[in-house]
């Protein structure tokens, strides 16, 4: 009895299997390639951090079919993405476009790298021109202790 229940339960539950299903694939390999490319950049809205290309959710499948439909109708990649963003908002984009406040995100890394380069360069220059300070910063006992520890 329990086993029968469990088996029927197993049949009802969604399968955690393939993302892109065989029946979705377009006949034209070039279009299909473009569809896959677009899909990896679109977020599955009901999943946690998965693209629609990877997701098994029903909604992701609908979106994949939608992307393919638009491509077959002759849309460019940009038009397809715009179409999806118009309906679902920019949340759907896994690659946030560098526009408006998102510019900060894209420029933060290079900016910090430049600042860091400047700081590092000035530090290295200072070390280059510095003279070694007196070694008597350590007391004799400390120096002996240090020598003992550092002795290989």
């Amino acid at each position: 009895m329990i086993r029968a229940l469990v088996l029927s339960l197993a049949l009802i539950l969604p399968g955690a299997a393939l993302a892109v299903k065989p029946d979705e694939i377009l006949d034209d390999p070039v279009l299909e390639e473009r569809a896959r490319d677009i899909s990896t950049g679109l977020r599955c809205l009901v999943c946690r951090n998965e693209s629609i290309d990877e997701s098994n959710a029903e909604l992701a499948r609908d979106l994949r079919l939608l992307v393919r439909e638009r491509l077959v109708e002759g849309d460019t990649d940009e038009e397809v993405i715009e179409f999806v963003v118009d309906r679902y908002g920019e949340y759907v984009l896994l690659n946030p476009p560098a526009r408006g406040s998102t510019l900060i995100l894209w420029l933060a890394g290079p900016a910090i790298l430049l600042v860091g380069l400047g700081l590092a360069a000035s530090y290295v220059r200072r070390r280059h021109h510095a003279t070694a300070p007196d070694e008597d910063a350590l007391s004799d006992a400390e120096a002996m202790r240090l020598a003992e520890i550092m002795k290989d």
């Binding site: 469990v6 393939l18 280059h128």
Partner: protein
């Protein structure tokens, strides 16, 4: 009864931790040897009590004590024994208990092996370490008590999340925690040194092994997680830039920077305040990682138990420890003057470049991870930051590091010349360019980054070999080979770890560039061609496991008429947890994996089947293992053992012996 003992031991450990946080610190400030000396036995007691507590919880899981609500929610009598044990940390409360167990273990190890530390430094390190423990004991006892009983115990449990019932993931958290918490030692040493007001070469030598060990454990932990994702999630991805993955990757990057800058402190007494800052930040990122995972503030595949209230508590811990340490740093960093003088072209400068690239790349990962939060809070935009951003923003740093590494490794300390360092590397450079061209010729895709990365990986591995060889000096090959075996283990560790980085890079580049994918409806008994292999769906059966039901396919892979392997991909249903999982069928090979996944039955017969040929997939994790091995080699270097030995030979001069 045993459960209550565990709870009681945990409370006692909390008390001991409070004592150990305060008394040695006052003792060190007043120079009272007795007050300082209590730190060591207290650290041992704290560890022993936490171990008893952890043991009690494990006992409850092993015996399926369903009067405990944690066991009910995460276990089941039918679950295999190994997963009953790993289930202890497969949940929020238990994983935090593991966290403090490791934290107190490191504290106790600092007490046991810290005999050569100056007494005041040792007392302060143990007190700071204990203050971290106090925060986490309080967190567990007041918000996440694992020892809560049920009023009416049920007959059976609700089972562990089936994704966690897997060897790769079962041992992924302990290693990650060893890494996260290992960085608490670097933090404690940094804060103690700031209070003490001095950082010298000896300090660098004490801090480095802890950091190195933490980094090795992080490497293994991240590798295990990535390997698990590869075979378990069903499409063979190995890294997703998921917030939780980033949470473990950021401390890894910072600790990699820290263990390099600690070398400069140790050998050259420069970069002191920077190293202290890194030590503070490394643990800060560990806490941020814990916060991200535990709070669920950034939703992710991994967040198996999250709760905003607990998140706020961890955020408070983070703020207090980071705020306090950074404030202390701001006041005291000025007194740490650098001693070593070095030229613009030198090993020191190369390590500055290494630190710059690692630290900024960590920052890039950090800002990408929290950007959705910032955009929502400050700009009112709901957006996602996914793999395309991270790939674009992070890859340049990897390229920069890979280009610079072999040259920097060859530069001498103090003063060097690029030309002279490059001379022995000419062969490696030629080899690398040849590899780039060769892979470019075989390449049909749209991006040239793959062949470039392959060339760089050859450059790294060959560069590591040249580095090692150049250490043997001049003379006949026989003599040099002899000297090769007598090189310090630190030299071997360095070369091995750098080569491991190259091998991981190679695996990633080859896999992402040359993967073959095939998705189709396969009919039983009708073979088809994928790449160089002939694949055939032989049969599909229903199979019953100990706590799951499975749809298991038999798929044969034939290579030019010779049967290569029979693969058994599965789709499992765990009825108690109500969750399906995918088990891929993988034929592992040195140069490629054949990876098959079984999907849904189709309406008009046949099954959906996905087949991948994944070139050099295993090299990704092989490289991680080699990196970890390099870390262990370096950790076993003579100078650490000698330093430990020197302590025993020493007659205590200043303070009173601790034990």
């Amino acid at each position: 009864m045993i459960v209550e003992l565990g709870h009681f031991a945990l409370i006692l450990a909390f008390m001991v931790a409070i004592f150990q946080m305060i008394v040695p610190m006052i003792g060190a400030a007043r120079g009272q040897a007795g007050w300082m000396a209590v730190a060591s036995p207290a650290a041992t007691a704290q560890f022993a009590l936490t171990a008893v507590s952890f043991g009690a919880l494990t006992y409850a899981f092993v015996t399926s004590d369903f009067s405990l609500s944690l066991v009910v929610n995460n276990s089941h009598t039918l679950k295999p024994m190994i997963y009953k044990i790993t289930g202890v940390w497969g949940n929020h409360e238990g994983s935090l208990l593991l966290w403090v167990l490791i934290l107190t273990l490191f504290g106790a190890m600092a007490a046991w092996f810290g005999g050569n530390l100056p007494p005041t430094l040792r007392a302060r390190v143990l007190a700071v370490q204990s203050s971290v423990a106090v925060a986490f004991f309080a967190f567990i006892l007041f918000t996440s008590n694992p020892f809560l009983r049920m009023e009416i115990p049920p007959f059976n449990g609700q089972d562990l999340n089936p994704l966690l019932q897997d060897p790769g993931l079962a041992f992924h958290p302990p290693f990650l925690y060893l890494g996260y918490v290992g960085l608490s030692m670097a933090f404690s040493f940094a804060v103690a040194a700031l209070i003490e007001g001095r950082v010298d070469a000896a300090w660098g030598r004490w801090v480095r092994p802890w950091t190195l060990a933490a980094w090795v454990f992080l490497t293994i932990g991240i590798g295990l997680g990535s390997w698990w994702a590869y075979y378990e999630l069903g499409w063979g991805g190995f890294w997703f830039w998921d917030p939780v993955e980033n949470a473990s990757f950021m401390p890894w990057l910072i600790s990699a920077a820290l263990l390099h800058s600690a070398i400069v402190v140790e050998k050259r007494e420069a970069l002191k305040s920077w190293t202290i800052l890194l030590a503070i930040l490394a643990f800060g990122f560990s806490l941020i990682g814990t916060f991200i995972v535990r709070s669920g503030v950034l939703t992710s595949v991994h967040a198996f138990a999250n709760d905003p209230e607990r998140g706020v508590y961890i955020l408070a811990i983070l703020t207090i420890f980071m705020g306090g340490a950074l404030l202390l740093f701001a006041f005291r960093a000025g007194i740490m003057e650098a001693k070593g003088v070095f030229s613009t072209v030198s090993r020191e400068s190369a390590l500055v470049v290494n630190n710059l690239l690692l630290a900024v790349s960590c920052f890039v990962v950090f800002i990408g991870t929290i950007w959705p939060l910032i955009a929502d809070m400050f700009f009112g935009r709901t957006l996602s930051v996914g793999p395309p951003f991270f790939n674009a923003a992070f890859t340049p740093f990897v390229i920069g590091l890979a280009v610079a590494l072999p040259i920097g490794a060859m530069l001498p300390w103090k003063r060097g010349r690029i030309g002279r360092a490059m001379k022995p590397l000419v062969g490696a450079a030629v080899l690398a360019i040849a590899a780039t061209l060769l892979s470019y010729a075989m390449f049909t895709g749209s991006s040239a980054i793959g062949p470039l990365a392959i060339g760089l990986s050859v450059w790294l591995v060959a560069g590591a070999a040249v580095d090692l060889w150049s250490r043997t000096g001049r003379g006949e090959i026989g003599n040099r080979l002899g000297r090769l075996t007598r090189l310090p283990r630190a030299d071997w560790g360095k070369a091995v770890a750098h080569a491991g980085f190259g091998i991981t890079l190679f695996g990633i580049a080859a896999l992402t560039t040359y993967q073959i994918e095939d998705i189709r409806v396969a009919q039983e008994g009708q073979p088809y061609q994928v790449g160089a292999y002939e694949v055939e769906l032989v049969e599909v059966r229903r199979v019953e496991g100990p706590n799951y039901f499975s749809t298991m396919a038999t798929i044969s892979v034939t290579d030019h008429g010779r049967l290569l392997d029979l693969l058994y991909p599965e789709r499992r249903i765990y009825p108690v947890a109500g969750m399906p999982t995918t088990e891929a069928g993988i034929n592992n090979g040195f140069t490629r994996d054949v990876y098959v996944v079984i999907g849904d039955p189709q309406d008009n017969g046949g099954w959906a089947v996905r087949t991948y040929i994944k070139p050099f997939a295993n090299w990704i994790w092989g490289g991680a293992i080699i990196m970890a091995l390099g870390g262990f080699l370096s950790l076993s270097d003579r100078r650490y053992r000698v330093a430990a030995g020197a302590a025993k030979a020493r007659v205590p001069s200043g303070g009173v012996p601790a034990e």
